[in-house]
C-alpha cells in the first residue's frame, strides 16, 4: 500500500469517526492502562500469556553479549585457586617440618597447574595462538596480568614439585649430587610460589569483575575475598584428605578461616548488590551456590571436629573441595545469566541515571559545602 492510498483512506475514515468518541491514541492508551492494571479481557482482545516486564527494551533481547567462555574457565577458577593455595600450604609445611603435607601441596599444585593450562588454552578460539598472550603486558587487562602471574608461578611450582622426586634418585654419582641439591632448590622455588600464590588466587576475581557483565562487575568489592577464601578452603581440603592427623593442624585452622572468608564475602555478593544479586540466588547458579554453602559449612565443621579420624578428615576435605568447585561454577553461571537478561543492564543503569538526576537538582539548590 502506498502512502498516498493510506492518506486517502484515512481522510475518508475521518469523516466516519463517531462523534463523542475519544481519538484512537487516547483509546489505545486507555487500553494499555487497563492491561497494565490487569483488568479483564476486552472484547475480542487477547491477554498476553507472559507477565509484563517492568522496564523497556528492544523486544526483550539481550543488550550485552553474554560471555563466550565455556565451563573451562569456571573449572580454571577452581584449579588456579587450588594450585595457588596448595603451593602456599606446601611452603608452610616445608618450613614447619610436615613432609606429607608438603608433598601433597606441591604435587597438587603442579597437577592443578597442568589442568589450568589445559583449560585456559582449550577455551581459546584459536588455541594454537595461545602464546600471543605473551606479546604484551597490560595492567588494564587482568588476563594479561594473569598470564604473567602464571608465567612466574608455574615454573616455581613445577620445580618445587619435581624436588619431591629427590628421594627416588641414587645416593652416589652425579645424580646423587642432584639428590642433595634438589631439596633446597625446591624450598626456594616453593617460596617463590608462595609469594605468587595470593596474586594467582585473587586476580581471577578481577578477571571477572573487569567486564561489563553486571553481576560480575558490581561484585568487585567482594569477589577477590570469595576467591581467596575458596582457594584456601579447597587446598586445605586436599591436605586433610592426604596428610596424617599429626600434620593437619594448620590446614584445619586454614580450612575454617578460608570457609569463613568465602561464606561471608559470598553472602554480601548474594544480598548487597541490589537487582544484580538476583542471578546469584536464582536458577542453576542459585542452586549451585546453595549447595556450595552446605558443603563448605559441613567441611569447615568437619575440619574442626574430625580430630584423629582419617575417614572423617578426608570426608571434610572432600566437602571443602566440592564447596569450592560449586562456588566457582555458581559465580560463573550467575554472571553469564546476568549478561543474558536485559533487565540487569537497564534497571541498574536507569536507577543510576535517576540518582544522578537528583544529584543535579541538589547541586543547584544547595550552596557549595566546602
Amino acid at each position: 500500500m502506498t502512502a498516498g492510498e493510506m492518506g486517502s483512506m484515512g481522510r475518508e475514515a475521518a469523516s466516519r469517526e463517531p462523534s463523542g468518541r475519544p481519538p484512537v491514541g487516547e483509546r489505545f492508551r486507555a487500553f494499555q492502562e487497563s492491561r497494565r492494571r490487569g483488568e479483564g479481557k476486552r472484547e475480542g482482545g487477547e491477554q498476553p500469556m507472559v507477565p509484563r516486564a517492568e522496564f523497556r527494551s528492544y523486544y526483550g533481547r539481550p543488550i550485552l553479549k553474554p560471555p563466550v567462555w565455556h565451563h573451562d574457565i569456571a573449572a580454571y577458577l577452581f584449579t588456579g585457586g587450588l594450585a595457588a593455595a596448595s603451593s602456599m600450604i606446601a611452603a608452610g609445611a616445608d618450613l614447619t617440618g610436615r613432609p606429607v603435607l608438603r608433598r601433597t601441596g606441591r604435587v597438587t599444585s603442579l597437577a592443578a597447574l597442568g589442568a589450568s593450562t589445559y583449560f585456559l588454552i582449550h577455551d581459546l578460539g584459536k588455541p594454537e595462538r595461545f602464546h600471543h598472550m605473551l606479546r604484551v603486558a597490560k595492567p588494564t587487562s587482568p588476563m594479561s596480568i594473569g598470564t604473567w602471574i602464571l608465567a612466574a608461578f608455574g615454573p616455581a611450582a613445577g620445580v618445587a614439585a619435581i624436588a619431591e622426586a629427590a628421594p627416588l634418585l641414587p645416593e652416589r654419582g652425579p645424580l646423587g649430587l642432584v639428590r642433595r641439591i634438589l631439596p633446597p632448590v625446591g624450598r626456594g622455588a616453593n617460596l617463590v610460589a608462595f609469594v605468587m600464590g595470593p596474586p594467582l588466587a585473587t586476580y581471577t576475581a578481577v578477571l571477572l569483575a573487569q567486564t561489563a557483565v553486571p553481576s560480575w562487575h558490581e561484585a568487585y568489592p567482594y569477589l577477590p575475598f570469595v576467591f581467596a577464601g575458596s582457594a584456601t578452603a579447597a587446598a586445605s581440603g586436599v591436605g586433610l584428605i592426604a596428610a596424617p592427623p599429626e600434620e593437619t593442624g594448620p590446614v584445619r585452622r586454614l580450612a575454617v578461616a578460608g570457609a569463613a572468608l568465602e561464606l561471608t564475602a559470598m553472602h554480601k555478593v548474594e544480598h548487597e548488590l541490589g537487582v544484580v544479586s538476583e542471578p546469584y540466588r536464582e536458577g542453576r547458579a542459585g542452586q549451585q551456590l546453595r549447595l556450595a554453602r552446605r558443603f563448605t559449612v559441613a567441611g569447615a565443621f568437619g575440619a574442626l571436629l574430625s580430630g584423629r579420624s582419617r575417614i572423617l578428615s578426608a570426608l571434610s576435605g572432600a566437602a571443602l573441595v566440592a564447596g569450592s568447585v560449586l562456588t566457582r561454577f555458581g559465580v560463573f553461571d550467575a554472571g553469564k545469566e546476568s549478561a543474558r537478561d536485559p533487565k540487569y543492564v537497564v534497571v541498574p543503569q536507569r536507577q543510576r541515571l535517576e540518582e544522578r538526576g537528583l544529584e543535579r537538582v541538589e547541586k543547584v539548590t544547595t550552596p557549595e559545602a566546602d
Binding site: 484515512g10 475514515a13 475521518a14 469517526e17 475519544p22 481519538p23 484512537v24 491514541g25 483509546r27 489505545f28 492508551r29 482482545g45 487477547e46 507472559v50 509484563r52 516486564a53 527494551s57 528492544y58 523486544y59 526483550g60 533481547r61 539481550p62 553479549k65 553474554p66 602456599m88 608452610g92 609445611a93 618450613l95 614447619t96 581459546l124 578460539g125 584459536k126 588455541p127 595462538r129 600471543h132 598472550m133 597490560k138 595492567p139 588494564t140 598470564t147 595470593p198 588466587a201 576475581a205 578481577v206 573487569q210 561489563a212 562487575h217 568489592p221 577477590p224 581467596a228 584456601t232 593442624g249 594448620p250 590446614v251 585452622r253 572468608l261 543474558r340 536485559p342 537497564v346 541515571l353
Partner: protein, 379 residues
C-alpha cells in the same frame, strides 16, 4: 526525562590537551589517538553521527558493509519480531538496523492538536477505518523473543530470557510484519503509530572496554581514534566480548576470532568514506571529523526540538559520559534501551584501580591466614 537544553560539549581540540591526556587515561574526557601514542599532531578523530530521525530502514548500510569488508552471510532466518531479521550486531553483521513500532507519543499528539478530538484539520490517524481482525501481537512478540538465530557467531543472537520484556514492547508492537493489519489493536481498532529505525554500529568508545581488556594487543587504537581488531593477532580469548558495555563485539564460529566494525580503517587511510556512510541514501549515517559531527548533531537536535519532536536526544556524544564519549554517536527519538542500547554505559575499567586494590587486600589476607595457621601452636 532530563530536559533537552543544548549542552556545551567540549570540542576535540579542547580534548587534545596534555593535562587531560595524562590525567584521564583510565576514565574521563580526552582525545584517544594522542593518548595511544600518535602524538599531538595525529589526524583529527573521525567517527559516525547516525541520525535515526531520517533512517528509512533500507539496510543498504548492512549490505555495503558486508560487501566491502567481506563479512560472511548470516542466513535468511526470520526472527518474527519485526522487519529486523539481523537481530543484533554480531561478528558477521557490523551494521544492524533496528525496527521499533510504537503508537505516536502523547506529546506528539498534543503537538498536532489531535489529542482533544480528531484531526485538527491537518493529520489523519493512520489506517483509521480500515478493515480489522483479531490481533495476537503480545503473545507473538513474547514467542519471537525466545527465538534465537544461527548467525555463525558466538554468542551471536541468542534467545531472550525475558519474554515479559517483549510483551512490554508488544503493546506498542502494532502488528508488523504479522498477519494482522498494521496499527491494529486488540479489540479490532486501529491506531496512529510511528516506526523508529536505527542503524546500530560499534561505538568506537573513547575508553573502549574491549581494547582495555584485550590480552594480546590484537585490539588497537588507530590514528583516527577508532578501535580495530588485528585478525592476525587475535587468539579468540573472548575477553573483549564480555568487556564491551554495548554488546557489540562477537566471536566467529569456526574461525574463533573476534570481529567488529573497523570504521573501514582501510578506506579511511585512503581518505575515503566508510562503506555504510557512502551507501546511506538519506544521510542518516554521516561520517567526518568528530568535532564537525557534534556541531551538526547539536544543530539537528535544536531543529527537531523546534518543530516539536521533543523526544529527540543525542546518545554517546558527550565526552564526559561513562565511556568518555563515543566515536560513533546517535540521534534517537526514544530512550536508548528501546533501541537495544544501554541507557548509561560505563567502561568497566573505571573501577579497575579499586578492583586491583581490593584484590591486593584479599591476597594479603590470604598470605596472612596461611602464615598465621602455620606459625600457630604445633598440634
Amino acid at each position: 526525562m532530563v530536559a533537552h537544553e543544548p549542552r556545551t560539549v567540549p570540542t576535540e581540540t579542547d580534548l587534545r590537551d596534555e593535562r587531560l591526556i595524562r590525567e584521564n587515561r583510565i576514565f574521563g574526557p580526552l582525545d584517544p589517538a594522542p593518548e595511544a601514542g600518535y602524538g599531538m599532531d595525529a589526524p583529527p578523530r573521525m567517527g559516525f553521527f547516525t541520525d535515526t530521525s531520517v533512517c528509512i530502514g533500507c539496510k543498504a548500510c548492512e549490505v555495503a558493509c558486508k560487501e566491502w569488508n567481506n563479512v560472511p552471510e548470516t542466513g535468511l532466518d526470520l526472527l518474527g519480531m519485526s522487519y529486523d531479521n539481523t537481530g543484533d550486531l554480531t561478528a558477521n553483521s557490523w551494521r544492524h538496523v533496528a525496527f521499533i513500532e510504537q503508537p505516536v507519543s502523547r506529546e506528539k499528539l498534543a503537538e498536532r492538536g489531535t489529542a482533544t478530538g480528531g484531526q485538527a484539520g491537518k493529520e489523519t490517524p493512520a489506517f483509521e477505518g480500515l478493515p480489522t481482525s483479531r490481533v495476537a501481537a503480545p503473545d507473538m512478540a513474547a514467542r519471537a523473543a525466545t527465538t534465537g538465530k544461527e548467525t555463525g557467531t558466538r554468542p551471536g543472537v541468542p534467545p531472550s530470557p525475558e519474554p515479559g520484556a517483549a510483551v512490554e514492547m508488544a503493546t506498542e508492537f502494532l502488528g508488523m510484519p504479522s498477519t494482522v493489519l498494521p496499527g491494529q489493536l486488540p479489540g479490532g481498532e486501529r491506531t496512529d503509530f510511528r516506526w523508529l529505525m536505527m542503524s546500530d554500529v560499534c561505538k568506537h568508545c573513547t575508553h573502549a572496554g574491549c581494547l582495555d581488556v584485550c590480552p594480546t594487543g590484537a585490539l588497537f587504537r588507530t590514528e583516527f581514534g577508532t578501535v580495530v581488531v588485528q585478525e592476525d593477532i587475535c587468539n579468540g580469548c573472548g575477553y573483549c566480548i564480555s568487556g564491551c558495555p554495548y554488546g557489540v563485539i562477537d566471536q566467529r564460529v569456526g574461525d574463533g576470532r573476534a570481529w567488529k566494525c573497523t570504521l573501514c580503517y582501510d578506506r579511511l587511510k585512503d581518505g575515503m568514506m566508510p562503506a555504510c556512510a557512502k551507501a546511506c541514501p538519506t544521510e542518516s549515517i554521516q561520517y567526518g571529523p568528530l568535532d564537525e559531527l557534534r556541531e551538526r548533531a547539536a544543530r539537528r537536535l535544536d531543529h527537531l526540538h523546534d518543530i516539536g519532536e521533543t523526544g529527540a536526544r543525542l546518545y554517546g556524544n558527550d565526552p564526559s559520559d561513562g565511556v568518555g564519549g563515543d566515536g560513533a554517536f546517535f540521534l534517537l527519538l526514544d530512550e536508548p534501551e528501546v533501541y537495544g542500547l544501554p541507557p548509561d554505559p560505563v567502561v568497566p575499567t573505571k573501577d579497575l584501580p579499586a578492583m586491583w586494590r581490593t584484590a591486593g587486600r584479599a591476597a594479603l589476607a590470604m598470605a596472612a591466614a596461611v602464615a598465621v595457621a602455620f606459625l600457630g601452636r604445633r598440634p
